[in-house]
Symmetry: C2
Subunit: 239 residues, 2 copies
Amino acid sequence: MKSALLYEGKAKKVYSVLGEEFQLILEYKDDATAFNGEKHKIFRGKGRLNNLISSHIFQYLHEKGIASHFIQALSDTEQLVYQTRIIPIEVVVRNIATGSLTKRLGITEGEVFQEPLVELYYKEDALNDPLMNDDHAKHITGISEGELEFIKEQARNINNHLQAMYDKIGVKLVDFKLEFGRLHDGSIVLSDEISPDTCRLWEEETDRKMDKDVFRNDIEDLVEIYDTIWKRMEENVHV
Amino acid sequence: MKSALLYEGKAKKVYSVLGEEFQLILEYKDDATAFNGEKHKIFRGKGRLNNLISSHIFQYLHEKGIASHFIQALSDTEQLVYQTRIIPIEVVVRNIATGSLTKRLGITEGEVFQEPLVELYYKEDALNDPLMNDDHAKHITGISEGELEFIKEQARNINNHLQAMYDKIGVKLVDFKLEFGRLHDGSIVLSDEISPDTCRLWEEETDRKMDKDVFRNDIEDLVEIYDTIWKRMEENVHV
Ligand SMILES: Nc1ncnc2c1ncn2[C@@H]1O[C@H](COP(=O)(O)OP(=O)(O)O)[C@@H](O)[C@H]1O
Ligand SMILES: Nc1ncnc2c1ncn2[C@@H]1O[C@H](COP(=O)(O)OP(=O)(O)O)[C@@H](O)[C@H]1O
Ligand SMILES: [Mg+2]
Ligand SMILES: [Mg+2]
């Protein structure tokens, strides 16, 4: 049962759990934000869909041997997770070039990478989540070389599993963001969420955007799109 | 003997050499530029000092077992080098936090790193030399994992040697930039220049700037400062 509200983020509320010192309840909100919070809108039903999708993906990954903070869904918008100390690194995996990458480095929009690119960003809103290399990440977060290698290896494995999963629902996984955290014993597990808010998803054949870019660029109704993703996942991805 | 002018950069002119297919003559110019060419000034005598200092450093490094493009100085402002295909990566090594790093990542100005940080920037003026990680560098330049490791290892070794050298002349090596290129046979060697234009140098005790920041920030006469560096080097660093 929910106890105190510990933190309210841009997409989720974080609650402590009565009688469970090392667990949290994440409540997915209907808020959508972009451009580091500059753009903001409420989409009724988004919280439910992201909770359902994220839970489904964590269960799918669990079956593939990828440990995470996820314990179980509690309601339409809530899930029970293990509390972690989030490592302030956003790990981004890219399969196809788009967005900031093409502008910063002059890489052609839509280029498919032979090997996925793994990037680290410093999770620090005040600095606008700047790109880091491994040396920066180790210096800033105190993470060890081996732990960083583990995280990047996990990110590549997760990418393989998610690509296979999205393939089943006719969607290309363009890129996505992960967060990792430390459990009570110091070990590192996948945390936070994996949802259309944190992935770029393009429909096979049409390249129609099926993710938060729909909101960033005011293309279509976000909830309808997320609902399509969820329906296809429920039907074709069994966990 | 100089043959055709092949390229004129911001700090040097590059000439082919009569009868020597795999060699070049680099002529150091008196031009100082900063902020990606926005600021520009001529300092009479700078070309000579950078040629002398760079030659001295390449010889010093050669004695420490670091191969480079350097063959010999030809005149006050010219040096003979092996032609390389420059890899478009600027390798930066940082011992003390200053400049862009402190702004981008919120690291405290003046912080001394336990382990030097090695950074890669994409040498591409049109993009303003953006920061890259290893995956970006491999994708953009086609360099292999092993070659990249070699370059970073060389950069760390060069840092150790240069720190020891600057220590002899009462100067702290704050950070510096290296370029590497491929010889005719494909092997990778240190190229370009190592001079007060490409290093941040702070005087021991006083932290007085003794490098191109003198020009960037209009602090003092640049030629006088570079001359001090050269005089101290000539006297105390024997090659
Ligand atoms: N298992 C967990 N334990 C502790 N914190 C977590 C866990 N999973 C996610 N978080 C954190 O919960 C916070 C709320 O999520 P969110 O609304 O997405 O925040 P933000 O605005 O930082 O993106 C984030 O700081 C996220 O890193
Ligand atoms: N051994 C070498 N062979 C070929 N090119 C070189 C060599 N050493 C340096 N260069 C290149 O010479 C050019 C001229 O130098 P510089 O004036 O510093 O140019 P920039 O304006 O690009 O900094 C640069 O592109 C540099 O990378
Ligand atoms: Mg978030
Ligand atoms: Mg140069």
